[in-house]
Structure formats: structure tokens, C-alpha cells
């Protein structure tokens, strides 16, 4: 990589030389990414039938579950932008760049997977021309497009700083505040509209998942997922780039903040279930009820209880594991809304013949994990050649 950068005479600084182990891991990640890209090309040539196990009984599956989780996870972009530029908690500024990079790559991978999920990827631009302002998906498409532009603008200073073009950096910095406010507004809209998407299927969803506050619940959980993502990424990247000192005080602050986020989430969700008298299915202890408890324990109970304990907040492993569990909780929540909570149509062939089930096709996994691996790889390379992590890193070397 260094040789390529040198040969292209790019003025980037290489901030990390991986060891043998690191090189092997990078090669493996690249291999996984490559297999994803190859299967994606195959899918484009043969269609969804041979490459997925989706049916009329389950038109959405693994990809949608991961997309919606990844959008929540990429919520780290708007959450941290708001923390630093709107709330002026300047101490978090060193983390903002890693957050923006994660948000940017998160959204780009979502766009790639969504493109593969469309029956007509060649018509992805449809929403630009044919408007339907009642459609949640229409609003989500517009917001994701505009927010990806915002993220590009937020990421651009970093790129030009890497290229040592201070004039351009200065020009972009001038519009930071309006860009950030636009970004947070767009995120507020589409993170909540993902909930509205499910609100539009009242007769197809289990009462434990369908409720009026769905849009708000999706929004709040994206902030919680974003905070968890920041903790995970900061600890991981610091390890990879050999930073000896990790800003524990900042991570603790994020952990404390996320306690409040999840308290609001839990109160709103459980409160709604109790108030509307739909709490009974919680204790049915059938499939949906078990899944409900899994996600509620991971998203609410775990962070609220464990992040309230100083001992957990002060331990790097504690911060990491709890954030990982929260991320898994959000993953479970988005998958449950897409699969567990859905009643299968009675009039599909699959439900009449009682063959309605969905187990993702191997290629669905290969494409999904491949795109994620590609995102991880690009994240690493960006952080290696651009000033993503704070300067202190270089001094350590």
C-alpha cells in the first residue's frame, strides 16, 4: 500500500505498518470482500431467484435486516456531529472524524446492498423522478441520498488535509455548522421514518413490534446504537493503530449518555405496551415473545444496568462488551421487525402449502459479509493514510 501511495506521489502520511499477523488478517478481510463483490456481480446477472431464498412469503430478509441495523449503527455520524458541533462538547472533537468516516462507509455499504436488493437495480434513480410523498421509503431514499452528500462534505476536510490543501479545508470549515444541522435533521427524518415504514404494515406485524411510537423508537435506538458504535470503533481502532492511551474519560461520558438514551427507549416502549393493553404477548413465551425479551434485555437492561456501574465504565473490556451487546440488541430488533414480527400472507403459495420459511441463502451471507468486510478495509486504509485518529498516534510510533 505504501508503495502505491509513493508511486502515485500522493502526499499521504502512512501512519501504520501492519505486522505479519496484521497483514494476514488484512489479506483475509480483502478475500472475504472480494468474494462478496464476485457474488454481487453474479447476482446482477442472474437475478434474485437463484441467489436468495426470498419468496412472496418473505420478500425482505437478511439484507434488509442488516441494512436497517447498519443505518442505526451509522447513526454514530449524526450523533457525534451533534455532540461536538451543536452541543459544543468540544472534548469529543478528536472522535468526530472517526464517527463521520464510520457514518459515511456505513451508508455507502447500505446503498450497495439496497441496490442488490432491488428487482431493478438499473432504475435505482426512480425516486428522484416519480414522487410519492406518502411513502416512507420515498422519504428514506431522499434523506439517505442527501445525507450521504452531507457525510461526504463532513469527510472532505479530512481528505484535503491528508492531501495538504489547507485552503480547501478552510473553505469547507466555513459551512460546517449549517451542514451539521442539515445532517442531523436529515438523520432525524430517515432514522424515524424507518419506523414509519413498519407503521405502514399494521395488519402484518405482531403487536409487540407494531405500535404508534415506532418512528420515535427507531430514532432513539439509532442514537443509542451510534453511541455504542463510537465506543466499539474507538477501542478497536486505538488497538489496531497501537495507541497506548485510550481516552477513557470520553468513553465513560458516552456510556453515561447512553444509559439515558436507553432509559427513554425502555420507558417509551414498555409504557406504550402497557398503556395500549398489548403487554400480554410479552409473557406468551412463544417465538416472538422470546425474541422480544432478547432484544429488550440487550438494548435496554444491559446498557442501563451495566453502564450505571462505575466498575464497568472504568474497564475497557466492560465498555467494549456492553457496547457489543447493545449493537447485537439493535441487530435483533431490526431483524425481528423484518422477520419475526411479520405474519406471513395467507394467500401466498408458500403459506397455503405450509412451506413458508426463510433461511438466508449462502450467497446472501457472502454478499452481506463481503460488503461489510470491504467497508472495514476501506475504514482501515482511510484511517491509515488520512488524519482520522488524533495526532498522538504518530508520536507513539
Amino acid at each position: 500500500m505504501t508503495t502505491i501511495v509513493r508511486r502515485l506521489r500522493l502526499p499521504f502520511n502512512d501512519m501504520h505498518q501492519p505486522g505479519l499477523m496484521g497483514k494476514i488478517v488484512l489479506a483475509l478481510v480483502a478475500l472475504v470482500a472480494l468474494s462478496g463483490v464476485v457474488s454481487a456481480i453474479y447476482r446482477l446477472f442472474v437475478g434474485l431467484g437463484p441467489t436468495t431464498n426470498l419468496t412472496d412469503a418473505y420478500p425482505w430478509g437478511l439484507w434488509i435486516g442488516f441494512d436497517f441495523t447498519l443505518i442505526a449503527f451509522a447513526g454514530v455520524g449524526f450523533t457525534m456531529a451533534a455532540v461536538v458541533h451543536v452541543l459544543h462538547l468540544e472534548q469529543y472533537k478528536p472522535m468526530a472524524r472517526a464517527a463521520v468516516l464510520t457514518g459515511f462507509l456505513g451508508y455507502v455499504s447500505v446503498l450497495v446492498i439496497l441496490l442488490l436488493d432491488l428487482g431493478r437495480p438499473d432504475r435505482f434513480w426512480g425516486f428522484l423522478v416519480y414522487w410519492n410523498h406518502h411513502s416512507p421509503l420515498f422519504e428514506i431514499s431522499w434523506c439517505i441520498l442527501l445525507y450521504t452528500i452531507v457525510l461526504t462534505l463532513e469527510f472532505a476536510p479530512l481528505f484535503f488535509e491528508g492531501l495538504q490543501r489547507p485552503a480547501i479545508v478552510k473553505a469547507i470549515h466555513k459551512v460546517t455548522v449549517p451542514v451539521v444541522i442539515a445532517g442531523v435533521t436529515l438523520s432525524t427524518l430517515h432514522q424515524s421514518t424507518l419506523g414509519t415504514l413498519y407503521l405502514a404494515m399494521p395488519h402484518k406485524m405482531h403487536p409487540l413490534w407494531w405500535s404508534w411510537p415506532l418512528p420515535i423508537l427507531f430514532y432513539i435506538s439509532s442514537i443509542g446504537a451510534g453511541l455504542a458504535a463510537m465506543i466499539l470503533i474507538w477501542i478497536l481502532a486505538s488497538k489496531v493503530f497501537g495507541r497506548k492511551k485510550i481516552e477513557m474519560n470520553l468513553l465513560q461520558g458516552l456510556a453515561k449518555g447512553s444509559v439515558w438514551v436507553w432509559v427513554v427507549y425502555a420507558v417509551l416502549r414498555l409504557g406504550d405496551l402497557l398503556m395500549t393493553g398489548t403487554a400480554r404477548p410479552m409473557f406468551a413465551f412463544d417465538g416472538p415473545s422470546v425474541w422480544f425479551w432478547i432484544e429488550m434485555i440487550l438494548m435496554a437492561l444491559v446498557p442501563i444496568v451495566l453502564f450505571s456501574l462505575q466498575r464497568v465504565r472504568e474497564s475497557q473490556a466492560g465498555l467494549f462488551i456492553v457496547s457489543l451487546l447493545v449493537t447485537l440488541g439493535v441487530l435483533a430488533n431490526r431483524f425481528n421487525a423484518t422477520l419475526t414480527a411479520q405474519y406471513v400472507n395467507r394467500f401466498t403459495v408458500e403459506s397455503v402449502t405450509e412451506t413458508a420459511r426463510y433461511v438466508p441463502h449462502l450467497l446472501e451471507w457472502v454478499m452481506q459479509i463481503g460488503i461489510l468486510a470491504a467497508a472495514v478495509l476501506v475504514w482501515y486504509l482511510a484511517a491509515r493514510f488520512l488524519p482520522v485518529m488524533p495526532e498522538a498516534v504518530k508520536d507513539e510510533h
Partner: protein, 263 residues
């Protein structure tokens, strides 16, 4: 004038002429199926099957009923498919039918989630896949013909006409043969009203008709979506306010510490 259809399940004798007529008029391929131990064949909707008869053996009030339900798109008054479609590929026409603009469709399959009746079906075999469903034979009605299924029905179980007149006709049949009918018109109020109306000898839930309430399917979502401009204004205002407030706080704090140092 709004076209509607009254399906009288008491009159239907399960001959499936409608099913065959639909396939043949719309040039839809036959499907390879297998015996399921009942008459249903094919058993459900698909990209190539827009209309079909389901055979229900149901015990109701101590009596065995063999009821044949003709299924197709209900052509809702407030269609969920059209409401959720991001590219307006579905359109509710003033004449009644919910029609499809295939050149707009991106194959996202959200309509399959927006429809409470499980009607739109995706073409899983295609490289570039689209969805599809009953068209209400708009190509025939434009020329003044009845839809294919209605044209071939030998017992007049399917009747096309003005919606309000068909509802009146259904109530007339309830009055005339009170014992033959379960006195409810499925579709009169369901999901905000549908263009295809059903009357039956037994309650509809026994025939698997979903309980969709009387509000349009996506009522809640549309309410939220209509609030979008308010959300935008509120978010921008709140964020700008917070920006100003926290910045001011900082400046005040700086000023204070500065003047203290001055002393």
C-alpha cells in the same frame, strides 16, 4: 362513475372458469403444481396467477359448508400498495381499478408489505424482476367489455356495477334470503372500503379473510408522513437553538474566567 364488483359466494359453484379466463386473457403462464389433498390449484397468488378459487370446508352452526372463494386484488379505495410505493408505480384510478405503471417500478417489494391481502407478487425467476397483480382487466373495460372473470361466470356470482348500487343489491339479497347469507358485506367498510365486495353464507374470518379494521391500511403512517414538514422545522429550530445556547454558555464562561484573570 366508480366501477365495483359484487362477489356472491352463495352463488359460486367453484367451476374455476374465472381462473382459466384470467390466465388466458392475460397470457399468464401455467404453473407446475402438485396435489395438496384438496382442490386448490395453484394454491396461492403468484406472478403468473392473479385470480384463483380457494375451496373451504367449514363447519358453522352445526352445518358443513363448502364455500368457494374467488380471490384477486381487492382494488382498495385507499390502497396500501400505492401508499407505500416510493416511485408511485401503483395508482388508484377514479374509475375504481388500482393500476400498475411497470416502467416506474424499481422492484423494492414494499407493496407486498403494504397490501394486507397478500396480492402483489414478485417475479423471482427474472433477472430484472417486477411485481404484478390483477389489473381489473383495464384493457378490456377501456373497450367496453367486462373483465374476463366476470364475463365467463356462469352463475352470475360476479357482477360489475356502480359501487353504491351493488351494496344496495347485497342488502336486497340479505332481505330476500335472510337464511342463506351471513349479513355482512366484506369490503363495504374494510380497510376504508374496497372495490371488490363479498357476501357469503358464513362469517368471513372462517374463510380466512383478514380482519383489517375499517380505517385505510396505512392511516397511521400517512399521518406521520404528513407531519414531515413540521419535523423538519422543529428539528432545525431545536438544533439551531441548542447550538446558540451552548455556544453562548461557553462564551459567558470564557468571559467570566477572562475577567477573573484580569483582576
Amino acid at each position: 362513475m366508480s366501477r365495483a364488483v359484487l362477489v356472491d359466494l352463495v352463488r359460486c359453484m367453484g367451476c374455476r372458469a374465472c381462473q382459466v379466463a384470467c390466465k388466458s386473457w392475460n397470457d399468464k403462464k401455467a404453473e407446475l403444481t402438485q396435489c395438496l389433498g384438496c382442490y386448490d390449484n395453484p394454491p396461492g397468488f403468484s406472478y403468473n396467477t392473479w385470480s384463483l378459487i380457494q375451496f373451504n370446508e367449514v363447519e358453522y352452526q352445526g352445518q358443513l359448508h363448502w364455500v368457494f372463494t374467488k380471490r384477486q386484488c381487492m382494488h382498495c379505495e385507499h390502497p396500501g400498495c400505492a401508499s407505500v410505493c416510493p416511485v408511485s408505480a401503483w395508482e388508484k384510478t377514479a374509475e375504481g381499478p388500482v393500476i400498475y405503471h411497470p416502467h416506474r417500478c424499481i422492484g423494492c417489494r414494499n407493496c407486498q408489505y403494504g397490501c394486507p391481502f397478500g396480492v402483489p407478487s414478485y417475479n423471482w425467476d427474472a433477472v430484472l424482476g417486477l411485481v404484478n397483480k390483477c389489473t381489473f382487466c383495464t384493457d378490456r373495460t377501456a373497450e367496453g367489455y367486462e373483465p374476463a372473470c366476470i364475463k365467463v361466470c356462469p352463475t352470475d356470482a360476479l357482477e360489475m356495477g356502480e359501487r353504491s348500487q351493488l351494496i344496495a343489491e347485497a342488502y336486497r339479497r340479505f332481505d330476500r334470503f335472510p337464511d342463506r347469507y351471513y349479513h355482512h358485506i366484506y369490503g363495504e367498510k374494510e380497510a376504508g372500503g374496497t372495490t371488490w365486495l363479498y357476501i357469503s353464507p358464513i362469517p368471513f374470518d372462517l374463510l380466512g379473510f383478514p380482519d383489517v379494521g375499517t380505517a385505510p391500511v396505512t392511516e397511521e403512517a400517512v399521518t406521520v408522513m404528513n407531519g414531515t414538514p413540521v419535523t423538519i422545522v422543529a428539528a432545525v429550530a431545536a438544533l439551531s437553538g441548542l447550538y446558540w445556547l451552548t455556544k453562548r454558555k461557553e462564551q459567558v464562561a470564557e468571559h467570566k474566567s477572562g475577567s477573573e484573570e484580569g483582576k
